[in-house]
């Protein structure tokens, strides 16, 4: 930890819930993933940008993406590499499936322990679950300090092992210092992630996990991966992260979904307002009271 940091960014591939159509839910109440494009969770991109900014300042810093999901979640790792991350690890195993935030954070914590970073950065929350629990739970499980709602990392003192972080809170901005190693979760109000970089895209476009290489069964990739080891994205299963199997996936998840309801907004009665001060003021009061604005 001299001139550089070892950073792990936690990222998740999520269904794009921002463009939900009629077929977003299946009849049984679960998310119809086929109908929604899989994307890089937006706030995780903000987190990645913060990590890359540290790398801009301390060029020897390494940024590793850690993501848990099915094989196709390797997309997230490649996307991050196109934007400047050094590599990533895909946590994938049938035993991980069906995890709630407790089991997810347990699995991630086991992997983080193995990677042994100086700093862990995650998005505040994922747009599919909206819990904002995974980042903090990872910190708790690892016994690390955590700073949530981060908007920027202002100071890095590698020698002292301390960083200064600006947090966006409901009524203002707070600047805090945190000892490393530690966990930061980043808000959507933080700077947007940089675009893909042309040279990185060309360098890493053939990056694949072992499963993907096997699936494609192309000698081309096999040969290329042998020659260029940075193209191989490691896959870790439960055995690789020394996890207690009972705490993984469905068996490690106390949260059970009881019921899912489809809410359909219905138009209410219309109201006629004039442009008079009284009417406008009345409307403002009403909207504040209903927490629509303010």
């Amino acid at each position: 930890m001299n001139k550089a940091l070892k950073i792990v960014v936690l990222a998740k591939q999520v269904p794009d819930t921002r463009n939900v159509g009629k077929d977003a839910m299946k009849a049984d109440g679960t998310v119809n993933r086929a109908a929604l494009p899989a994307i890089f969770n937006p706030e995780d991109l903000n987190a990645l940008e913060q990590a890359l900014r540290i790398k801009d300042r301390l060029p020897e810093t390494t940024v590793t993406i850690l993501t848990m999901g099915p094989f196709r979640a390797a997309e997230v790792i490649r996307e991050a590499m196109f934007r400047g991350a050094d590599g990533g690890v895909l946590l994938t195993d049938r035993k991980f499936a069906g995890a709630d935030t407790l089991a997810t954070s347990y699995t991630l914590a086991c992997a983080v322990k193995k990677l042994n970073p100086d700093l862990i950065i995650a998005g505040r929350q994922a747009i599919d679950g909206d819990t904002a629990q995974v980042g903090p739970q990872v910190a708790e499980k690892l016994g690390l300090p955590q700073v949530t709602y981060a908007e920027s990392i202002d100071g890095i003192d590698v020698q002292a092992g301390e960083i200064t972080i600006r947090r966006r809170l409901e009524h203002g901005v707070e600047t805090v210092a945190m000892r490393l190693p530690g966990v930061i979760t980043v808000n959507a109000s933080a700077p947007a992630c940089r675009p893909r970089n042309a040279k990185m895209v060309m360098k890493y476009k053939h990056a694949r996990t072992v499963s993907e290489v096997q699936e494609q069964q192309e000698d081309y990739y096999m040969a290329l991966h042998k020659e260029r080891c940075y193209l191989c994205i490691p896959e870790w299963g439960s055995g690789d992260v020394d996890a207690d199997e009972a705490s993984l996936g469905l068996s490690g998840s106390p949260t059970k979904v009881k019921k899912i309801e489809n809410i359909v907004f219905q138009a209410k009665e219309a109201k006629h307002l004039t442009g008079s001060d009284g009417d406008v003021e009345g409307l403002i009061k009403e909207l504040i009271a209903s927490h629509t604005i303010g």
Binding site: R194, P195, R196, N197, A198, K199, M200, V201, M202, K203, K205, L224, R228
Partner: protein, 584 residues
């Protein structure tokens, strides 16, 4: 997420052209960079895949940053503070985004930090950026200057300047002066050797109408030979903004492309380095630079057309009158079909020209490394000849069509199009410059008529006639053959009358535009016909081919009639305007 590359099948089609194989092989020379650079392609498929992926990056930034900023950039514009240009907020954001995306220096060799792409994908990137914001397209397109340095400057100058391009340094070409516009031989800005520093020159004087004049790296045309007054006294120099010896006196208030700063510059003992050889500035280097710039305006015009067409199509579907969307009315759908035909025809000519330039420029660079074989040299000459004939034709047609498509697109918007509320209002203003700068349409005709008189265009038409279309388009093919016969007849008529009247130049000049246009209709007609006969993508072009050839046929007949019915005496009537009194 919106992406201007992925949503455009027509651009993608041109990346698959058979000539790309040759272009990539010339550019990559046995893929020799693959061991040295981790981002270099290993084979042809890998190279094309990389072009596609990088164009996707440009298409993303174009759609989600540049296009989003276009309106605010148009309203805010750049300004001058303390003799320096400050970009509009959005312009700076666009620039930063493209720099971070690492796409600048797209055609420069890898050893200078570039991506070593051929010209075709570079031209595509220009089109994508211009569709988003034509004004910003100029800042993007001025990386042509780096290409000119790469072609003609010493390795020492290149090693100093070119690596900065990929890191986001912007460029400018400082040619025009108050008394030297179309006639660049009149350039007066003075270059004198610095007596204290051998190898350095000092520039003094004024330049006007300089796009991005406060750019980091400027190519300056200046008079290095004291006492001369013509082109042979001019040399090309490279100036580094870090010297802070050039002041921006003002920026112009323009009709369109407002985000692109047009500067008046004052040079005061500005230190500069000579590019290439003395006295070759205008004759060789600026001519090459202008040719690339004209190709760039072709791309800009196509980009603007794409934007205008899409705005019009959207509006015509949304706007209802008499109980239905206006696209259902013949007057509107006819306009839209012809707009699309012009757009696709212009794009076909754009990439045909870009491929010709690509092949010969690659040979040009190869020749610096080793002696070319005879057949390579012949091929270089052949493609250079084609590029020289097609470039002015492209500039002429694409910019004129750009204006007609923008005009019609605004017309489809009706009264709303005249208001500032719709993007078409800006697009219409932005389109207007394309027929003017980098050589007016009138000057393109002067350059393009050579392709007519030397028979290069005719040779191309005959070559295209050897390619038979799918049988459904036989009628269109026969029409094109008839149009070629009309073209030959028109040319013959002009030559005969000239010979009889003994005023060859006047006659040819008078009818030049008509002849060049006839040539253009036929050549673009053939290109569309070939695309419409493509085994998989043909359907995409069939309607455009039919519509374009129909319109071209009508125009060719009209031009031939005009030429044939023209009484030799009437040239004098047109000249009588010279005697009109100009009111003070």
């Amino acid at each position: 997420m919106a992406n201007f590359f992925l949503d455009n099948k027509d651009i993608q089609f041109h990346l698959d052209h058979p000539l790309m194989k040759k272009i990539v092989e010339l550019k990559e020379q046995g893929f020799r960079d693959k061991a040295t650079y981790d981002y270099a392609p290993v084979d042809f498929e890998d190279a094309i895949d990389s072009y596609r992926k990088v164009l996707e990056v440009v298409g993303d930034v174009a759609a989600n940053t540049i296009a989003v900023n276009a309106d605010s950039v148009d309203k805010e514009g750049p300004r001058v503070e303390n003799d320096r240009v400050i970009y509009a907020r959005g312009t700076q954001e666009n620039q930063d985004m493209l720099t971070q995306a690492g796409v600048y220096g797209i055609s420069l060799p890898r050893r200078f930090g570039g991506l070593n792409f051929p010209l075709v994908p570079y031209v595509m990137s220009c089109e994508l950026v211009c569709r988003a914001d034509a004004g910003f397209g100029n800042i993007w397109g001025l990386q042509d200057c780096a290409e000119t340095l790469h072609e003609f400057a010493s390795e020492e100058i290149n090693a100093e300047y070119l690596p900065r391009i990929n890191k986001g340094a912007t460029a400018a070409m400082d040619l025009t002066e108050p008394d030297a516009g179309s006639d660049l031989q009149a350039v007066m800005l003075k270059a004198t050797p610095n007596p204290d520093k051998p190898g350095e020159w000092l520039l003094n004087g004024v330049k006007r109408f300089i796009t991005n004049g406060d750019g980091d790296i400027s190519l300056v045309l200046a008079r290095s030979e004291e006492g001369t007054t013509d082109a042979r006294g001019l040399s090309l120099f490279v100036y580094d903004k870090n010297h802070m010896a050039v002041k921006v006196r003002r920026i112009e208030h323009k009709l369109g492309i407002i985000g692109s700063p047009t500067c008046e510059l004052v040079f005061t003992n500005a230190p500069a380095k000579l590019v290439g050889d003395r006295k070759m500035g205008l004759i060789k280097y600026v001519m090459a630079l202008m040719n690339s710039a004209r190709l760039g305006i072709g791309a800009q015009s196509v980009g603007i057309m794409e934007a205008a067409y899409r705005e019009a199509l959207k509006y015509a579907n949304e706007r209802e009158q008499f109980g239905k969307p206006i696209i259902h009315f013949p007057a509107v759908y006819e306009l839209l079909t012809n707009m699309k035909a012009r757009l696709q025809a212009s794009r076909a000519l754009l990439y045909e020209t870009a491929r010709f330039v690509d092949v010969y420029k690659n040979y040009f660079h190869l020749e610096k490394e080793r002696k070319l074989e005879k057949e390579e040299r012949d091929e270089m000459k052949k493609y250079q000849k084609l590029a020289d004939a097609y470039t002015p034709l492209l500039k002429l047609f694409s910019s004129e069509y750009c204006n007609s498509v923008a005009y019609d697109a605004l017309q489809i918007h009706g009264g709303s199009g005249f208001m500032k509320d719709y993007a078409i209002e800006r697009i219409y203003r932005d389109a207007r410059i394309t027929t003017i700068y980098e050589g007016t349409s009138q000057l393109q005709v002067v350059a393009a008529i050579r392709g007519v008189t030397t028979g290069v265009l005719l040779g191309q038409m005959q070559g295209y006639e050897a390619i038979k279309p799918v049988s459904e388009l036989d009628g269109q093919y026969r029409t094109l053959v008839t149009m070629r016969e009309q073209y030959e007849e028109a040319l013959k008529t002009v030559h005969e009358v000239s010979a009889k009247e003994g005023s060859d130049a006047d006659w040819l000049d008078f009818h030049a535009r008509r002849l060049v246009e006839m040539g253009g209709y036929i050549i673009m007609g053939h290109l569309l016909l070939q695309q419409a006969s493509h085994p998989t993508a043909g359907e995409e072009y069939r309607i455009s081919a039919i519509a374009f050839i129909k319109e071209g046929q009508a125009k060719c007949s009209a031009h031939l009639n005009y030429i044939k019915a023209f009484d030799p005496d009437s040239l004098g009537y047109f000249k009588m305007v010279l005697d009109e009194k100009v009111e003070a």
